[in-house]
Amino acid sequence: MSNSIDKISEDNNSMNFLAFRWIAIFSDGTKIEQFENDIEHNFQEIKDKFSDLAYFNLTDRKGHMFSVDLINGLIGYNYLTLPYIKVKEKKDNIRLIYFRRHQVEITEKMIEKSHTIIYFLGIQWATINNENRNIILQIDENGDFIINGK
């Protein structure tokens, strides 16, 4: 990232750092880390080879790790599979769900009172009846999370 972008970030965002960073691992064993050698990779690089994506992990500096296994349709937290009954059903066309939800609070007196980020991480798949299902974790910046699904 350029110095000018860093400056903008420091000047105008109350939170300058992402709590979690991603690592994508592909079926041929290659991987892309979001931050490598002080360079940030764009998520588009993953989308460009989405069909080859095998694992997608989110990790922070506190030791939290969330992992999505796109081959078997599993979601893990700190090396353990999250217990969720629907994970055990047969799944086809397993796809990654990942985005960051920003909430910026503005008051009249302060243009940015707070800035929080929730990480949405999960999978969606088709059942044997061709119904679309998903499981999504909502992870806050402390690594606490809730599970949603349908």
Binding site: N42, T107, M110, I111
Partner: protein
Amino acid sequence: MALGLLQVTLCHKKEINNKMSATHQFSESNGAGEVETIPIVNLNFGSIDMAQLTPATYPIIRGQASFEKYLRCKFTGVWTEINNMKFWKSSGNYKTGETISAAANVSYVQPSNTANADSSIPTIEGSALAIQSAEGNTNIVYGESGVSGYTKYIRLQTKSTGSTPAGIGNTKIFTFQYDEV
């Protein structure tokens, strides 16, 4: 049940400054010829068409409306796609006779202190204003031809009545939300 899917050693001790991928700034536009102030540090309403005004110097006269505010967000940095942009008033009680109106995705015209016909600003996420990109799309794709990184304008105005008590109003909190990948 053990999860045997991790095929890399994760280096938690590795110190990397995880900079924000997309960064944002808010701007306000004023004047007949549109003068943009970016970034702005506050969103004070008042009796003058001016960004970052001092309310004590330009108070809103009881029974009148403030000058309209034309607010935009500009994204910079690197991202893949930004979407699901919303804006609403998330907290802060009105005083008697006070309301704040808002309209999304409007065109810029010189701000006025004549009470406009915009609806009251939504107060829950479920009915929040859906904000578009400056180009009129529901998403902002990084690097796409013609993409400015701006949202469309959000127009805000605070209104009072003769029964509105004098003095400083309660602090209102507005929330701007967006999804980024």
